[in-house]
């Protein structure tokens, strides 16, 4: 690439987006995008955890033995996720109930391991922190876009509020029906592919 020094925060938002470019974190993008609310919460939680674990790993990067680095990364991520989930349970119980399995799912999110391995192991803590924030936000943006379409076309609502008038529906004498396919994970994959398509056609120079 032409630029030598890239902005660690802005780069993953667009040109090096974790989902659209690195194709990481697809699994959770399929699972939590049926509705916008869990998608936003998931995006937020991942952002916080990636940023924190990036900093921790970056701080101890020179002491980590090469042969067990993945295990060390995993231990750090798992510990952080558990601590965050304990705090949520103690102080914002409602939110933790709402997140339920997602918090645990964060440990398995490929973006975390991907960023730790590819960035935090080689870079300084502050840059790693920005990289974590950027990647988390980049992930959240895609999740929000996908869940926007899935919730709107699949259940006719946005953030749980009905936006398509009840009278339009076939049941009430209209001619509109929710698209059941939108609720299925396969549709998320198709939508993610569309996002990647749009993203690549805007950034023609990437390939």
């Amino acid at each position: 690439m032409a630029e030598k020094k890239v902005n660690p925060f802005l780069e993953p938002l667009n040109r090096n987006n974790p989902i659209a470019m690195q194709v990481l974190g697809i699994c959770s993008a399929l699972a939590v995008t049926v509705e916008m609310k869990p998608a936003i919460i998931m995006g937020l939680s991942v952002t916080i955890i990636v940023a924190l674990s990036n900093v921790v790993i970056s701080l101890i990067r020179n002491t980590i033995p090469n042969s067990v680095r993945i295990i060390v990364q995993l231990v750090v991520v798992a510990a952080l996720v558990t601590v965050v989930s304990e705090f949520l349970k103690a102080f914002v119980y409602d939110v933790s109930v709402q997140l339920s399995v997602y918090i645990g799912l964060i440990i398995t999110n490929c973006i975390l391991m991907g960023r730790l391995e590819a960035y935090a192991m080689q870079n300084k803590p502050w840059d790693s922190f920005l990289d974590g924030l950027g990647n988390g936000c980049g992930y959240a943006i895609i999740l929000i876009i996908v869940s926007f379409f899935r919730e709107l076309l699949g259940s006719g609502s946005l953030l749980g509020c009905k936006v398509i008038p009840e009278t339009w529906f076939v049941d009430n004498g209209g001619c509109y029906m929710n698209n059941g396919l939108m609720m299925m994970p396969s549709m998320a994959l198709i939508l993610v592919a569309c996002v990647i398509w749009v993203h690549r056609s805007i950034n023609k120079d990437i390939e």
Binding site: V32, V72, V83, E86
Partner: protein, 273 residues
């Protein structure tokens, strides 16, 4: 520093693991009592949610988040353990004995007073698609008509199976009967358009077939433990003396709720024996 030596790796991992386990145990130790309080309050909320009414698809809760504990004290007047024969084996205090869990062969029952009428709340447990699902089912005094229901789940799919918690699904249960001709029949959860034989039914949530079937199975399996108790009230209803006693009870509810609690319990025990 040579970080690839075996001794270094082993010591490094031991140090990391010790630090992390210390961190986790301290966090969990410090926060545990707070979390337990939250869980207790949440359970009280869930019990109270079963007493919600649904007007216009909107849920009208009988509490606000701040005073759930106070509402619980106000509305829940009895906590009993039943055996499978429908007899009361333990009479507990709803607030002080809240943490008492049901032993094997005992089935908990909460008794609520809403606007002077007695409601019975039965906890239900079952399995959905991804994990456990649970419910609190509030019944009218006839132990047959559903007054309200609350559903909870551990991790059903958002937008699909998880929709069992929404008022529009729960409201369908109100007014349905779990007995048919005086015999326990449960409730069927059927795809729109299908008709269940011999029992009342509600519509399943779309896209959540397995969760819906889980709800149906949960009603059947959990409630069957209460079947004897559910079919008992015919005996209470027969005595006219009991009817007048009920009238006295509802009068007393205004004055002294503690007195109502004890008399109410005695009445039920008498009716079952």
């Amino acid at each position: 520093m040579n970080t690839s030596k075996n001794s270094y790796v082993i010591i490094y991992m031991i140090v990391i693991v010790v630090i992390v386990s210390l961190l986790l145990s301290i966090t969990s130790g410090v926060l545990h009592s707070r979390q337990a309080d939250n869980v207790r309050l949440d359970t009280k909320k869930q019990i109270l949610m079963s007493l919600s009414t649904f007007g216009n698809d909107q849920e009208n809760k009988i509490y606000t988040d701040d005073d759930a504990a106070a509402s619980y004290e106000k509305f829940i007047v009895g906590y009993q353990m039943l055996d499978v024969e429908g007899n009361v084996v333990d009479t507990l205090r709803p607030v002080e004995d809240f943490d008492v869990k049901a032993d094997e062969g005992k089935y908990p029952l909460y008794i609520a007073e809403v606007d002077g009428a007695t409601k019975y709340i039965i906890p239900l447990k079952g399995a959905g698609l991804w994990g456990a699902i649970r419910a609190y089912l509030a019944l009218d005094e006839d132990r047959n008509t559903i007054y309200g229901v609350y559903f909870g789940h551990d991790g059903e799919t958002p937008g699909l199976g998880a929709n069992i918690v929404l008022p529009r699904f729960r409201a369908q249960f109100v007014g349905k009967h779990i007995l048919r001709d005086g015999v326990f029949a449960s409730i069927a959860v059927e795809k729109k358009g299908n008709t269940a034989e011999g029992k009342d039914q509600v519509d399943a949530v779309s896209g959540g077939t397995i969760t819906s079937k889980g709800v149906e199975a949960m009603f059947l399996s959990s409630l069957s433990n209460y079947a004897k108790w559910l079919t008992a009230p015919a005996i209470i209803k027969e005595g006219a003396a009991d009817a007048s006693l009920n009238a006295i009870l509802s009068d007393m509810a205004v004055g002294d709720s503690a007195a109502v609690e004890t008399t109410d319990v005695e009445l039920n025990e008498g009716g079952n024996k």
